[in-house]
């Protein structure tokens, strides 16, 4: 049996600031994971990634698993949890800025 599909988000780093960004439902880049668009099929996810990858202001766009939470998408892996938060040794990055 095929594995159930895990929804995806599109994420990258901003060209100028270098920080983590996500593709929103209105095709803009947003800085909070909770504002990201969650794609329910592989086809749509890949199509949105191809779109995002054309944007020169987003570096290294990729798809990553996420699940719907109460306040928007939630990461399923700790790496993305750190990316949306910032480092654990200093109060820097998203946790300090958002």
């Amino acid at each position: 049996m095929a594995r159930p599909f895990t929804p995806k988000i599109v994420t990258a780093n901003a060209l100028l600031e270098g920080d983590v960004i996500y593709l929103s439902a209105s095709d803009t880049w947003v800085r909070a994971l909770s504002d990201a668009a969650l794609f329910d099929t592989q086809e749509v996810a890949e199509e949105r990634l191809a779109f995002a990858a054309k944007d020169g202001f987003a570096v290294g766009a990729y798809l990553v698993d996420a699940v719907a939470g109460e306040n928007g998408p939630e990461p399923t892996h700790f790496r993305e949890d750190f990316r949306r938060t910032g480092p654990s040794n200093h109060n820097h990055g998203k946790q300090a800025e958002l």
Binding site: N13, F78, R79, F82
Partner: protein
């Protein structure tokens, strides 16, 4: 210390201006990321998890106070007020913004510093013994040879597209503090029958396939050293596996072809290129040596030191752990610990950098070093100045008395910063240091080197830690593998894996069990952790790490 000549100055400025143009073209869209990436990597600019990271070279770990002040200025103006000193004698800024990078590089060039060849498949920043020119056990100062190699390797046309990165380390002392046997080339300076020269070691490295370097030549006289090194890199440049980046390092080339075959090829290549050097390398070495003359050591009374040592237990504890023997008996080498329990190993704030710069001016003949153990060294301090120096360190939160002890941990940035990481390493280091501080056992445990990497690349040297910790991702959770018995000195050994790894919340208790086992097992307080492990081997430590659980069949 070395000072740029017109050629160096022009070259570094030229690179800054080239890269400034490249950044501008990237921002206006005329360069794609694909085109820009190799250019930024050639200039030490990475893109990590949360931001860009700029890696600045500190050649052979040597800094003057003005350079340290400038590093502080950059940290404050362009970053978040701190910098991270690494195991490769570099400083990394974790938060620069792309449009600011040209200005940072310009500011570095103002103090004769740069970020060139701190990344990419080139010959990287040359590292050296951080006690160079000061250590009592040193026969030669390794820095002139290291500087010669830096000049030769910088922008060397044959070596800009190597199969993989290439790292060189140099020492001139009997005790290896530069981990030379874990480098692509390790150089140990020595004298034979009155002739200066070096043992050349090849094919050491950590990463996914750790290997201890092997002696390629037991003695190469100085007059042949640079062509011999060039011949070695040249042989590997042709022979190295470009088909598979995991097999591309010279350690694999040596392993696959055999040391004798490589040696024969190097000798053949050496015979071809040696005549083309024509002695210019030796002229340059002679010039460079002028820059590394010893400071003029002063002769003055010592009673302030003796008085403080006898009367101030805090000073005494610090002096006992953080001072090393200087070649001049009235002087000491000071290790300033960047490992206060609970802080990030290797991080220094801008204020701390400035106070260190001032201390170097006031008490240390204008010299600072960065050690591969992520501490700052003041190599030449007259003992009479130590109490005053210690007072300033205390005031700046830099007087932690733990050099070489269990809380003096090497940790790579791990998943708190690094895009390649599979787990965090910094919080593990913080947790261990804080725990052993609470236990008040550190002095009793004595010398113990813990080294932590956040992935198999081994930037935190875990393979050569007496206790090594490797963070992995096991089915979506952080998991930490332990190795024991590693050694990064002249008796280099790759540590042995103990068995199954430990979860994030189990790793610190596991280390605690190991250390208690050691305290029980050692013959006396003189027997170090490493010596005890060498005597007894893995079994008793394994028993302590994996106690048989009564309620669970699965102890992993």
């Amino acid at each position: 210390m070395y000072s740029y000549n017109d050629f160096d100055e022009a070259f570094v400025r030229e690179r800054v201006s080239q890269f400034s143009g490249q950044v501008a073209r990237r921002i206006d869209g005329s360069l794609t990321e694909e085109e820009f990436r190799p250019l930024r990597l050639m200039n030490g600019l990475y893109l990590q998890l949360h931001a860009y990271m700029l890696r600045v070279a500190i050649p052979y770990g040597t800094l003057n106070p003005d350079q340290m002040d400038q590093l502080a200025m950059i940290a404050e103006k362009f970053d978040k007020g701190y910098g991270h000193f690494t195991t490769r004698q570099n400083i990394q800024y974790n938060w620069p913004k792309l449009p600011d990078v040209p200005a940072i590089l310009e500011a570095l060039a103002d103090v004769e510093m740069h970020a060139i060849q701190t990344s990419g498949n080139t010959i990287r920043n040359v590292t050296a013994d951080h006690f160079a020119g000061a250590a009592a056990d040193e026969s030669f100062d390794p820095r002139p040879v290291a500087e010669l190699i830096r000049q030769w390797s910088t922008d060397h046309p044959e070596f800009q597209f190597l199969p993989r990165k290439f790292k060189v380390a140099v020492t001139g002392a009997s005790h290896d503090r530069a981990v030379v046997r874990a480098h692509d080339i390790g150089i140990v300076l020595k004298e034979q029958n009155g002739v200066k020269g070096a043992e050349v070691i090849v094919g050491g490295g950590l990463g996914r396939t750790p290997m201890v370097g092997k002696t390629l030549s037991d003695f190469v006289p100085f007059a042949d050293l640079l062509p011999y090194i060039e011949a070695t890199v040249s042989v590997w440049n042709l022979l190295g596996r470009r088909d598979n980046k995991y097999k591309a390092r010279i350690k694999i080339t040596v392993h696959e072809n055999g040391l004798d075959d490589i040696r024969a090829r190097v000798e053949e290549r050496f015979a071809q290129i040696k005549p083309t050097f024509g002695g210019v390398d030796m002229d340059m070495l002679a010039q460079i040596e002028q820059f590394f003359v010893s400071p003029i050591f002063v002769d003055k009374p010592m009673e302030s030191y003796t008085r403080a040592y006898e009367n101030d237990p805090v000073f005494r504890a610090w002096a006992d752990t953080n001072l090393a023997a200087h070649k001049n008996a009235d002087y000491a080498i000071v290790t300033v610990s960047l490992k206060k329990p609970g802080t990030t190993p290797g991080d220094a704030s801008a204020d701390q950098m400035r106070s260190l710069a001032q201390l170097a001016r006031d008490y240390a003949h204008d010299e600072l070093r960065i050690s591969h153990e992520q501490n700052v060294i003041l190599p030449h301090v007259h003992k009479s100045n130590l109490p005053a120096l210690h007072a300033v360190l205390k005031a700046n939160d830099l007087a932690t008395a733990n050099a070489g002890l269990i809380s003096d941990i090497i940790a790579c940035p791990g998943m708190d910063y690094c895009a390649l990481a599979t787990a965090r390493s910094i919080p593990v280091a913080q947790g261990i240091a804080t725990r052993f501080e609470e236990l008040k056992l550190e002095q009793d445990i004595g010398e113990l080197k813990i080294k932590i990497s956040g992935c198999i690349n081994a930037c935190g040297h875990h393979h050569v830690g007496h206790i090594g910790i490797l963070g992995l991702d096991r089915a979506g959770v952080e998991n930490y593998q332990i190795t024991l018995g590693g050694d990064g000195t002249e008796t280099t050994v790759i540590g042995d894996r103990t068995g199954p790894g430990f979860a994030y919340d189990e790793i610190i208790p596991a280390i605690e069990r190991l250390v208690y086992a050691y305290l029980d097992l050692r013959l006396d307080a003189e027997e170090t952790f490493l010596a005890t492990y060498r005597r007894l081997g893995m079994p008793p430590f394994k028993e302590a790490l994996y106690p048989v659980k009564e309620d669970k069949a699965d102890a992993a």
